[in-house]
Symmetry: D2
Subunit: 435 residues, 4 copies
C-alpha cells in the first residue's frame, strides 16, 4: 500500500487510531458481559466506556510503552489504565491478547469487505450502463487474437458484468468467512472466561462466535479471504487487458479518456497510452501476491504461533487498499471509456467476409456435402483472402465445387451481420434479468 | 500427478477414454436437442447414440489424426465419423470445439469435486471418532511452541473437524462454481446454435448453462476452484504439521502407526519417522502451486486465447489427484494414530505448575492488586521455574507480597486441571451439534 | 509433465531405470573408495561393479519390496543383493539413504541442465540467424501497445537474443548450484564414513563435495535452481507474447508457420491462430509454478525432514521436461516464423508521420523554443492526426507558430526513417560481438 | 514495508528525495556527455549541475505538477526548469522518461544490494563466532524431528554459515544483474541520443550500459534479482525455524535472549516465546511473495508496457526493506542466542543409547551378519527402547543372536560419543577455511 494507489476510506481502516478504537470497544463490550455475569462491578464497566469514549488514544505513548514491554496489547492496556484509572484492572479479565487482536482483524476485514462490495456495485453499475449503451454496437469477436465472428460491444461488457457479479458473490462469502469473533482465552478453552462474553461481543460487533478457536481464529478463513481478493484482482486484470488490446494503435476500437493537460510521453507528444489499465494489470499482480503467504499462514504450530502476524500486518492493508483503488480506477475507466463504433466496423470489414466462413461451412453440410469436404472447400477460399486479400464472397461465388452445392442467393445470405446478433437480447436477459 | 501419490478413481476421471466418452455424450445430447428443434433428422441423433454407445473410441487412432490436423476435437469428430457413418455430418452442427472441451472440463471437475467431498466426509468421520475418544484426554496447549495452558486432545481434533467442515462447504461452493455448461458457438453469440441446445445438454449433464460465455467458460470460475483446493491443502498441511510436532522425540504425545516390516531408515534401525505427515506437507505445497497459474489463466485475450489449456491439462489432474490422495492419506493417519495420554500428562507436568500462572494473575487482580503489579509478581516467580526448575506453587506460597493478597488455599485451588476443561462440552456441542 | 508437452531425452532422465542406474553407480563408486581405504575387500567392490553393470534392475521387483519395507533405498539394496550375492553386504557401508538420493538428484538436475543449455544454444542460433536476416527490416516500435518510433525487426530479435544469452548464463550458474555430492552419513558428520569416499564419488560423477551437509544437500541450492527455470520460462513467455501480438489480425506483421493439413478451428475454416506461442504462454505459467514450492522446501526441520521429497518427485520432472519442450517449441517457431515486412511498413505509415513527433519537438527546442511550448505545439498538431486522421507533416507545415521556428526543409528532414536505424549496427555489435 | 519492520538506511533509498536526486544526477551527467559531443553548450551543463546541486527538490511542488500532467518525469523536469532557468531546455535532450526511471531503479537496487550484502556479512560474522564457540558442544542431530545421531551445535551453525555464504554470492550475482544503465531513447534505437551518452552516465554511476534496451531495461534482470531475495528469505526462515524448534518447551536447547521488562503474554506471565524467529518466518513469506509478480513483470508487450511500474513501486521497497530488517534481526538473534549445552546432553541421553544403532548395525555386518539380519537384530532391540524405555545397550548385551556376532567390549565401544564428532574439524575447515 502506497499513497499513489490508495484511497483514504480504506486506508483509515488500517490506521493505528482505528485499531486502538476497536481494541477498546472489544474490551469494553467484554466488560459489559463480565459485569452482567457478576465477574466485575457494573460501575467499572460503565466507567470504562465513559472514560474510553471520551479519550483519544495516544499512539505515540502506546508505542513508547511497547518499546519497553515488547508487547502491543499490554502497552495499550497500560495506556488505557492511565485513562480509566483504578477500574482499569477489571479490563481484559480472563482474556488473552489474541482475543483482542484477532477479533479486531475480523472487524477490519469486514469493513474492508463492505468497501470492496460497494466498489463492485459501482463497477457493476458502470458496466451495465455502458453495456446497454452498446448493446447493438457490432464488433468483431476474437479468439487467439484473430478475428472470429461478430458480436457486440455490449455483449463484451455483459460478460464483464456477469464476471464481476460472481466476484461480488465471492466477496460476500469471503466477508462471511472472516466475520467471526474469538474471546476464548489462552488456548481457546474458555478456562478463564465465560463463552457468553464471546457471544455478547460478537453480537455487538456484528460477528459470529468462532465455534472453536485456539487462542487465534483459524487462518484457513483468512486464506480463503485473500484467495477471493486474488480472483477479483484477476478479473480486474482481464477487463483491463481487454481495454489495452482495444486501444492498440492498429485496433483503436476504444480508448481510455485522455484529459486535457495530460501528457502521454516526455519524448513523444503524439502518444495516448492506456496507462490506467496497464497500471491495473500491475496492481492485480500485487493483490494476487498476497494469496500464497495467506495460505502459508494457515499452518500455525499447535494452538498458534505468531508467524502469521507480520504477514497480515502487511498484506491486510496492502491487498485491500490496492484492490479498492483498482476497482475504483477500473470503474472510472469504464464510465469514461471512449468507444469508436466506426473503427469496430472498419476492423470487422478488414477480412472481407471471412468471418462468415462458418455459416458457409454449415450451409454446405446442410446441402449434403460431407463435413470434411465442406471444411476443405471453405478453407481453400478463405486462404486466398488470408494470403492475398481476395474478397471471400467473390471467391466462393467463383468456386465451381461450392456452387454445385449452393446457389448464389444461398451464399449471399450467409453474409448477413444481423444473423450473429439475433441472440443478444437472450444473453442480456440472462445477465441482467428483465430489467 | 505421479502413480506414487495417486488413487485410481480420481486418475480415471482424467483418462483419454473418459474424456472422449464425455465428448461423445455432449455431442450426442446436442444432437437430441438439434433434432427436437428440427435442425437435424431425429433418426440421425438416434443413430449417433446407438453407434457411439456401442463403440470403444480408439485413442491411438484419434492421436494419429490429431498429429495431422493439429486439432484434437476435429480428430475426434473424424474418428466418430468412421464409427457413425454418414449421419456423422449432423454432429457438432453450429458448435465450436470449446463447447465440447469446456463443458467436458466442467464434468470432470464436478466428478473430481464429488470424490474430494467424499474424501472430506471420510476425514471428518475419522476426526469425529477420535475427537470423542479423546474428549477428556488432557494435554498441554501450546502457543509459540511453548507450553500455554491445558486443553484436551479431543479439542485439538474438534478444531481440525471444524476446519475441514469449512473446507467441505468451500468444496461445495467450488463445485457450484465450475458446474456450468457452454454450447454457445465461436464467440458465445449462439449465432449458429439455439440456446435451447445448451439448456438441454446442461440439464442432461447436471450442469447450469453459463449465462454468457465467449467461446469459453470464463476462467474466474476455475481460478476460484483451484484456490479452494489450495486452501484445503493448507488445512491438510496444518493437521499434518500438528502430528509431526507431536511425534518429535522429546514430545512423543502421538505417533503415526508404524506397520510391522516397515523400516524407518536404511542406516538407523531405531527410527520411527512421521513420514506420512511429512509427505502431506510436501503434497500441500504441490496443490497450492496450482493456484497462481489458475489465476493467471483468468486473463484471456478478448473472447478467448488458448494459453489456459496447457495449464489446465496439467493442474487439472495434478491438483485433484494429489489432493484426493492427500486427504485419503490423512484420513488413514488419523484413524490409526497412536496416542500416548501418559506422555501428554508427563509433558504437562514438566513446567511444575507454570501453566497455572494466568489463574494466579487473575486471582491477584481480583484481590485488589493492580494489573501491572500482579503481572510482576507472577512473572518473578515464574522465571524461577523457567530458569532453575523451581516448583511454581512452592515459590508462590513463599512470596510475601503474593501471600499478602492470597491465602495458601486460594493459591492451591488455582492449580486444578479440571478448571481448564470445564467448557469442553460446550465446545463439542458447538462443533458437533447435539449428536 | 504429460506426453503432449514432453521430449524423450529429458523424460528418460527421470525414468525409474535411469534412477536405479545412478543409485548403483553411486554405491559402486563408494565401494571403490571404501576398498581403497581398506574398509571393505577390493574384490567385493570389483564384484559389485561387474554384477551390477551386467544386470538390468527390475523396477517391478524393487517396487514390490518397497511396498513391504516402505523404504525405497532399502528396497533397491535388497534387490541389488539378489543380483550381487553375499558381497552385497559391503554395499552402503556407513551411508544413509539420502547420500544416494540427494546425489542422484544432483546428477539428474545436472543432466537436465545440460539439455536445457543445449536448448538455449539452439534457440540462440535461431534468433541470431533471423536477427541478421531482418537487421534492416524497418518496423514500428511500440510502447503501451501504441506506436512509438521506428526500429527494425532485427533489433527486436537481438533483444530476445541478449535476453536468452543472460538466461544461458543463469542456467550455467544454476547447474553449478546443484552439482554437489553428499556422502556424509545420517546427520552429515561422516561418523561412519570417511570424507574421502564423498570426494571420490563426487569426482567420478563430475560433482563437487557439499561443504557441509546434514543428511541432505541443503535445499537453498534447489530453490535457486528452480527459480532460474522460472525466469527462463518468463523470458519464453515474453517472446511468445511478442509473436502473439504480431500475429493479431489487425497487426499481422509476423505469423507462426501454418502447415498444410493444419486446421485452425473446428467451426471457422478461415482461422490461423498463434497456437504454439499461446501454448508457450501457458507452459511458462506451469514452469513458474515450481518456484514457490521449491522455496518452501528450503525450510527443512533440523538436520532434515522429508517434506521436500514429494515436491521434488513432481517438480523435478515437471519443470525440466516442460521447459525443455517449451524451449524447443520456441526455437521451431522462430526458425519458421513467417515475417511480413510489407505489413510492417503499412502499419508504420498508419499514423501519417506521427512517429516523428519527437524529432520535431527536439528541433523546436534546438531552435530556441522552450521545452513546454515545443511540447504544446507538437501535441496540438499530433492530436489532429490522432483524432481525425490528418497528415502530421501537412499540419506542421501549416502551423504558423511552428513555422516561425523551423523552415519547411527543416521540418521535412525530420521525417526520415533512416534517422531511426542509424545505430542498428552499434546495437548488433554490442549483442553479437564482431561476428 | 511498514515502520515496524524497517530500518532507516534502506528506507531512505526509496524516499522521494533520494529518487529525485538520482534523477537529477542522471540528467546532469547526460548533459555533460551531450556538451562534450557538442549537442548542447558546455556552460548549460555546468549551470545545470551548479543550480541542481544547490537546490532542494520540492516533492510537494513536483507532485502538484504531476497531478496536472499525469506524468512524473515531466513534472520533475518542469520543476527543474523552475530551478535552473532557461538552460533547462537542454536537459533530457533526446532522452525518454524510462531512461531516467529505469537507470534510477538500477541505482536504487544496487544500493539496496550493498546494504543486503553488508547485512549478510554481519550475519556471517555472528554465525562464525557462535559456531567456533560451540564447535564441540555435542547435541543430537535430528531427521524427521526424530533423534538420529549426535552432531555438535557448532556444526549446525557452520551449516547455516555455508548457506548464507551461498546467499552472499547470489546477492553479488543479483547486484550484477541489475547494475545496468539505459539511455537509449523511446524504443532503444538511440535515434535521438548518441550511445556515448549512455556510456558516460553508466560509468559515472558505476553501472554497465545495457547491451540492448527497448525504452526499458529488460525485466528478466529484475525477476532474477527478486528471485534471489526470495531464496535468501527462505534461508532466513530455515535458520529461524531451527531456533523456534530448539526453544520448544520440551526441547529447550537454545532460546532467544529475553530482555528485562519484556512480556511474553498478556495472560500468561510465565511465557518466553521465540517471537523474533516466528516473526522472521512471517517476514520470509512476505519477501518471497515478491518473486511471482517480478516474474510476471518480464512479459511486457512489445518494446514495453508500463504494467511493471506499479509492481516495482511496491515490491522494490517492500522486499528490500523487509529482507534488510530480517537479516539484521536474525543477526541479533544469533549474537545473543542463549544456548543450553546441558539440555542438549540431557535430550541426547533420552533415548538411552538408541542413537548408536547404526554403529551396531555396521559392526554386525562387519562381523559377517547379512545386512538384512543385522537390521532385524538391531531394530528388534531398538523397538524395546522406543516402546517401553528399555536401555538399548543392556538389551543388546542380553540378545543372544547379537552376542553370537559381537563381544560385550565390541558392543560397548559402539556407544562412544566422540566417534560422531571426530570429523568436526574437517567440516569446519571446509566451511571456514584454515582461519
Amino acid at each position: 500500500m502506497i499513497p499513489r494507489y490508495s484511497r483514504p476510506e480504506m486506508v483509515s481502516i488500517w490506521s493505528a487510531e482505528t485499531k486502538f478504537r476497536i481494541w477498546f470497544e472489544i474490551e469494553a463490550h467484554a466488560c459489559d458481559a463480565l459485569a452482567e455475569l457478576g465477574v466485575i462491578p457494573k460501575e467499572a464497566a460503565q466507567t470504562i466506556w465513559e472514560k474510553g469514549n471520551a479519550a483519544t488514544f495516544d499512539v505515540e505513548r502506546i508505542d513508547a510503552i511497547e518499546r519497553e514491554t515488547k508487547h502491543d496489547v499490554i502497552a495499550f492496556l497500560t495506556h488505557l489504565a492511565e485513562i480509566v484509572g483504578p477500574d482499569a484492572r477489571f479490563v481484559h479479565q480472563g482474556m488473552t491478547s489474541s482475543d483482542v487482536l484477532d477479533t479486531t482483524l475480523s472487524v477490519q476485514l469486514v469493513r474492508a469487505s463492505d468497501l470492496l462490495i460497494a466498489d463492485l456495485d459501482a463497477l457493476l453499475a458502470a458496466l451495465k450502463t455502458r453495456a446497454y449503451e452498446h448493446k447493438d454496437t457490432v464488433t468483431i469477436g476474437r479468439s487467439h487474437g484473430i478475428h472470429a465472428e461478430p458480436t457486440t460491444f455490449g455483449v463484451k461488457l455483459a460478460q464483464a458484468y456477469a464476471e464481476f457479479q460472481r466476484c461480488r458473490a465471492r466477496m460476500m462469502a469471503a466477508r462471511a468467512e472472516i466475520a467471526t469473533c474469538a474471546i476464548s482465552g489462552a488456548v481457546g478453552t474458555f478456562a478463564n472466561i465465560d463463552p457468553r462474553v464471546e457471544e455478547h461481543v460478537a453480537e455487538k460487533l456484528g460477528l459470529t462466535p468462532e465455534p472453536v478457536s485456539t487462542q487465534v481464529i483459524p487462518r484457513d478463513r483468512h486464506a480463503m479471504f485473500f484467495a477471493v481478493l486474488g480472483v477479483v484482482a484477476s478479473s480486474v486484470e482481464r477487463l483491463a487487458t481487454e481495454i489495452r488490446h482495444l486501444q492498440r494503435t492498429e485496433v483503436l476500437e476504444a480508448e481510455e479518456y485522455f484529459s486535457p493537460g495530460q501528457k502521454g510521453s516526455s519524448a513523444m507528444p503524439h502518444k495516448r497510452n492506456p496507462v490506467l489499465t496497464e497500471n491495473l494489470t500491475g496492481l492485480a499482480r500485487i493483490v494476487r501476491s498476497a494469496v500464497t503467504p495467506a495460505m502459508e499462514n494457515v499452518v500455525l504450530w499447535h494452538e498458534r504461533d505468531i508467524s502469521h502476524s507480520s504477514v497480515e500486518r502487511m498484506i491486510g492493508p496492502d491487498a485491500t487498499v490496492t484492490l479498492d483503488f483498482a476497482l475504483a480506477r477500473l470503474t472510472g475507466v469504464i464510465e469514461k471509456l471512449v468507444v469508436y463504433p466506426e473503427n469496430m466496423m472498419k476492423n470487422l470489414d478488414r477480412f472481407k467476409g471471412l468471418v462468415h466462413s462458418q455459416r458457409v461451412l454449415l450451409a454446405l453440410t446442410q446441402a449434403g456435402v460431407s463435413r470434411e469436404d465442406a471444411y476443405r472447400l471453405v478453407q481453400r477460399n478463405a486462404m486466398k483472402t488470408w494470403d492475398r486479400g481476395a474478397d471471400f464472397l467473390e471467391e466462393l461465388l467463383g468456386d465451381t465445387e461450392v456452387r454445385n452445392a449452393l446457389s448464389e442467393d444461398q451464399i449471399r445470405e450467409k453474409f448477413d451481420l444481423g444473423y450473429h446478433t439475433k441472440q443478444v437480447d437472450t444473453i442480456f436477459k440472462r445477465v441482467f434479468g428483465d430489467s
